[in-house]
Subunit: 241 residues, 2 copies
DNA sequence: CGCTCTGGTTAGAGCCTCTAACTCCAGAGT
DNA sequence: ACTCTGGAGTTAGAGGCTCTAACCAGAGCG
């Protein structure tokens, strides 16, 4: 998924085509390993062996292990963003509260589908690993659909302080304003941002505890908790039902 | 901290004493490494070298790398629980809402103090690693102080469903009931549990995003978000101010 | 048709975890 | 007080990993 199509390469030479295909196969195999045992279980050697190659051959396609990981992370963000977008269009005509619940459910169901991939995005995969800037943009794609929904509410109480910080942010970096405007025109961008960040933190809180198995031995379903959290957010922001 | 004192060993032979001391030094050195580079950067070899030993010597003290990690995790839980308890006694006479804010702040400040240790507790350290049951008990110690506070509120809206699941849980396993009763007598245990789980998810959501550096480049302070989240929870549960 | 550039190989350095077998001495028992 | 046992620490080594260096062969380019 999203292997070579990100670089259409108008003059697609056969060399390039082969290269893209092999890169895709490597990524696929690597994902398989991660799905099975998480990021630390990813071994370039094993991936190569699985494809009928020897270890060092992979270094012709990816500079190193971290490079492969970042690419998988970007793909993961894209997949999550796609899941959110399709959920958003499916409930485009529903009231905002229902949209929020649907987006939350979509987020969760994508995450539990392949927990290790979610941990790949949300956690820090390697010791010295620092997320490259392109992943930040991808992450925004995941949260984008929330902006339009939560911009329909308003902040009260302690959330007002959060919103004030968002205004500062909007003043400082115009790129953020454009991003918000693209997803949520005709709403107060600071409110949309404050609500979205809050929703993000709640989603991540519920879902990451679930995928890490920390609910094991506890007497509740993660879906119930997530639902309650989203409903509470809708209540607090006065989202129309 | 909490090295040998967990097993007082009434007949503390000098052998045992030496053993406990070295175990403590190993754990200290390992923690240092984790603080610097996270769990995957922990190398038994390097720890041994730092203590003037050779690699295999450590295997006389810990069965393997995962064993050392679990022990560090347990210590981490204990430290977090202690931080929560001292915060709880400091605000024991304040109104519940203020207590909740204080506990949240204590949780966060402990986590940001050594982010990698927090990730050690919250994340999955190794591929095949599955949390042993003793860590579950320790985790309960961290959340304990929240029970008494949140038991003072009540559930509304979608949280009622969560509370219903908690009642089932309380019926199924009496150990949970005892745990809640120990921390929060004279309140409805299901309400306390529902509120605590919710608070846990929110705390983890805000804090884990922060320690993983995902707020980088965003225009808000984590403390503001956490505050807003705790206030919102207090509002939703009608905690007296 | 010949050159180049690239995908693939093997060899190997330098890590790592963990096991096996060996010393050697401190402490326990008589 | 003397022996002897058991545990702390060692070296050697198997098997794994990432990644570099040097080399080979053939496919695609001009």
């Amino acid at each position: 998924m999203a292997d070579g199509s990100s670089t259409p390469t108008p003059t697609s030479t056969p060399r390039q085509r082969y290269r893209d295909q092999v890169r895709g196969e490597i990524k696929q195999a690597a994902l398989e390993q991660i799905r099975a045992g998480g990021a630390p279980a990813l071994s370039l050697n094993a991936v190569a062996k699985g494809l009928g190659l020897t270890g060092p051959a992979l270094y012709k396609y990816f500079r190193n292990r971290d490079d492969l990981l970042t690419e998988l992370i970007c793909d993961g963000y894209d997949a999550a963003a796609a899941a959110m977008r399709t959920a958003a269009v499916r409930v485009a005509d529903a009231p905002p509260r229902e949209q929020l619940l649907a987006l939350g459910a979509a987020f969760r169901s994508w995450a539990v589908e392949s927990p290790h991939v979610y941990q790949l995005l949300a956690g820090t995969p390697s010791p010295g690993y620092h997320a490259p800037p392109e992943t930040v943009d991808r992450a925004r794609g995941v949260l984008g659909p929330l902006l339009g929904v939560l911009g329909r509410g308003d902040c009260r109480g302690a959330a007002l302080e959060l919103r004030a910080e968002m205004r500062f942010w909007l003043n400082d970096s115009p790129a953020v304003g454009e991003w918000v405007a693209a997803w949520a025109p005709d709403v107060d961008p600071a409110t949309a941002l404050a609500g979205t960040v809050t929703a993000w933190a709640r989603l991540h809180g519920v879902v990451s505890l679930e995928v890490q198995g920390l609910y094991e031995g506890m007497g509740h379903r993660a879906g119930t908790l997530l639902n309650a959290e989203m409903e509470a957010l809708a209540d607090a922001m006065g989202l129309p039902a």
